[in-house]
């Protein structure tokens, strides 16, 4: 009898030193079907996928491929069998051409010679890309493509393996709407060809748009598998979190008082022009706009990372001159940067060292040169409990935490500097729903304490749910500021796309 399932896991358990990442996961994947895998960050999805793609070995349990028990010892083995994976973190070789990236590790050779057949490589790549309706020159250097195009090349590469199982780990994280639709067309075609697609994403609408079945993991445990048609967003979140999240955006109206920060006609050539706005104490000012609208650049300029060429900044009605982040910190400003990995965490340092980085001077002991470790431990411990950082100890390296917990450590870093103006650039990007809600609560509480808060986010529901007013940018210009009561998705999108 033909196998109903192309790929099956039975009782997979994976233990890392000190953590059980997966505990008894049994899943079955059908050919010709899109199977979504859901779970909060740290639920074990990526670990499971790494086992299926041969990067990790399970501690216990077996994998059956086409009904046969199979062991993968290296990525190459699972690829050869027909399991291709598109990784969450893009993995191109940046300074090589598209075609060299696609055929990496299996370059075609000119028959009877040890030499690579560049013409065949080019033609095959061209055909592959044409087939996927991608207009990319196979010879162009990978680093010259946009992130979205790189992602499409990665997908083309997976297709080129002619695999029976294609694993996509958050393939849409950097794609625009049009590109996502393009991807979905590709996925549907793969499904028609009888391939099994394992699809991991945090975006609910995508899950419901593309998947046939949904399996949920929570804290390394298997929760269940459901036909997508029987689920809705609320049900799915409840399954993932294991509790009902009644309030996604726990916004509390709180008194808004004097103007704290005022920005007049700020410009930075090539990034944005003539940006003016004000934030009051107790107010959350949202910043909406499409990617590339210049919001991050404005925040970097405010914080002294970028040089401004014109305009003025006033704090408490007094003009201030901020030339470097140190100046900004002295003026009681804090910036949670957009890219946690790039400009936030020190991966090799432990949690407390990551926390105290912005206020390290405060912990010098009486001799003035050495650090007071007892004080550091105490205060870090306080913040750990206050904002519920899940970790076995403060000495844990931050890179071992989930994305949400890393973000909380960074929030703690800036809270320790006791700021009066907080700039949060995409504070919930890439973190799971539970941690997201906690960070939202934290933001609201900070506003209630009279802090002035700027919230930059590309997620419209988050902006609409959290902000008192919403500033919208488009192509380097501020196109409008909308009051909370007037703010709808349509209004904000209009400003985000209109001609200034």
């Amino acid at each position: 009898m033909a196998n109903e399932y192309v790929l099956e896991t039975r009782g997979i358990r994976k233990v890392f030193p000190g953590v059980v990442a997966l505990d008894g996961i049994s899943l079955r994947f059908r050919p010709g079907s899109v199977h979504a895998l859901m779970g909060e960050n740290g639920a074990g999805k990526s670990t499971l996928m790494k086992i299926l793609s041969g990067m990790y070995k399970p501690t216990e349990g077996i994998v059956l491929y086409k009904g046969v028990e199979t062991e993968f010892n290296a990525p190459i083995e699972s690829i050869r069998l027909g399991i291709a994976m598109i990784h969450q973190e893009l993995s191109p070789v940046p300074h090589r051409s598209v075609m060299e990236n696609v055929w990496l590790g299996r370059e075609p050779l000119i028959k009877g010679t040890p030499f690579v057949d560049h013409r065949k490589m080019h033609d095959d790549t061209k055909r592959l890309l044409d087939d996927l309706e991608l207009s990319i020159d196979p010879r162009i250097e990978m680093a010259k493509l946009t992130v979205a195009k790189m992602q499409m090349v990665e997908i083309a590469k997976a297709v080129s393996y002619n695999a029976d199982v294609v694993i996509m780990d958050e393939p849409t994280s950097s794609l625009t709407k049009g590109e996502v639709e393009h991807l979905f067309r590709i996925i549907r075609r793969l499904r028609e060809q009888g391939k099994a697609i394992i699809y991991i994403s945090h975006k609910m609408d995508e899950i419901f748009a593309i998947s046939d079945e949904v399996s949920v993991l929570r804290d390394g445990n298997y929760v269940g598998t459901y036909p997508a048609a029987e689920l809705n967003t609320d049900k799915l979140i409840a399954l993932m979190v294991g509790r009902e999240l009644n309030e996604m955006f726990p916004k509390v109206e709180c008194p808004i008082t004097d103007v704290k920060l005022e920005v007049k006609n700020l410009s930075s050539p090539g990034a944005f022009q003539d940006v003016s706005f004000a934030v009051r104490k107790g107010e959350i000012l949202g910043f909406a706009g499409l990617v590339g609208a210049g919001r991050t650049e404005v925040m970097e300029t405010l914080f002294g990372i970028r040089h401004k060429c014109a305009g003025s900044v006033l704090i408490d009605d007094k003009p201030v001159d901020i030339r470097a982040p140190e100046d900004a910190i002295r003026h009681k400003m804090a910036l949670l940067t957009e890219d946690r990995r790039l400009s936030g965490i020190f991966p090799m340092l432990d949690i407390k060292d990551n926390m105290i980085m912005a206020v390290i001077d405060r912990y010098r002991n009486r001799l003035g040169k050495f650090l007071n470790h007892a004080q550091i431990r105490n205060e870090c411990g306080e913040y750990r409990h206050k904002i519920k950082i899940k970790t076995p100890s403060l000495e844990q390296k931050i890179m071992n935490l989930s994305g949400g917990n890393q973000q909380k450590v960074l929030v703690a870093r800036w809270l320790m500097s006791e700021p009066e103006i907080l700039i949060l650039d995409e504070p919930t990007r890439g973190i799971d729903v539970g941690a997201k809600a906690e960070i939202h609560t934290l933001i609201t509480n900070l506003a209630a304490k009279g802090k002035a808060i700027i919230l930059v986010s590309s997620e419209l529901p988050e902006i609409l749910g959290m902000s008192d007013r919403i500033a919208v940018m488009r192509e380097g210009r501020l196109t409008g500021i909308v009051e909370r009561k007037d703010a709808t998705q349509e209004v904000v999108m209009k400003y985000a796309t209109m001609k200034p």
Binding site: I79, S91, V93, H95, R96, E100, L104, G105, R106, V116
Partner: protein, 327 residues
Amino acid sequence: MNGKENIKQFFGKYGIYLVLVVMVIIMSFLSPVFLSQDNLLNVVRQVSVIGVISLGVTLVIISKGIDLSSGSTLALCAVMAASFGQAGDWAAKMYPSLPELPVIVPILVALGVGTLVGMVNGLLVAKTGIPAFIATLGTYVSVRGLALLYSDGRPVSTLTASYQFIGQGYVLGVPVPVILFFVLALITWVVLNHTKFGKNIYAIGGNIVAAEVSGVNVGRNLVKIYMYAGMLAGVAGLMLSARLNTGQPGMGVAYELDAIAATTIGGTSHSGGIGTIQGAVVGALILGVLNNGLNLLGVSAYWQQIIKGAIIVTAVVIDMRKNAKKK
């Protein structure tokens, strides 16, 4: 795009060749001897030993590694090859009972020993995961010790005529070391650009995780890269001992640094994944022209060192700015 962009790109790509051309032009004005055929061949012959080493070092650096052991490997290969290539009538032979052997024996010894040292480097890097800097620092020290041990600290001199030909001979008026340098450069260029192995080197240096998940056997390739570099250091040992008619355990000190310098000046990036053989050849020639030119001009050896160092750093600064611009 526009003309300005194009000019910038052109300089980014060919800047290093222009530097060489400009240096040659300046030198030919400053010194009448410089452009003579004899002097030019002399320049190339002088750089050929360093040049051959830098070919292998280029592969290593593209893979995001480093090889500090080339100078020591050169010395070990030189004394061992020389001990099997001594002239029959020489009284102080290392192996007195050994008859005069055909030149293929010392050649195979040099290549074999060099490859073996490279294999040790490669295995250390690939299997233990220690940084290449540390692994090859270890072999740099130990292999020099081996050379001293093997030769008992003494030179191994008076080689057969056919051995000496490798370093001193001419074919059609061109010195043999120069021919060897260019032939090996051509072979290495083909390996790097037209074989799977070459593609894998770029991939490993550019993104080792990507290489791994694409099914590249990273460990085996790393071993091969270091073996290739070791083998070329062996060739360099053969060339140098043949030229000087002696294999000495103290030979080739700091040659690895000159080879790394040549590679680096030639645009190979220490952050991995970027680099060319043409660049290494031009880098070696630039160092050679610089040495020769400064000598002809009577610049003191002390100043020569200072200038050489400054040029290495300047080359990398320019290269980094070029790459940063792309972002």
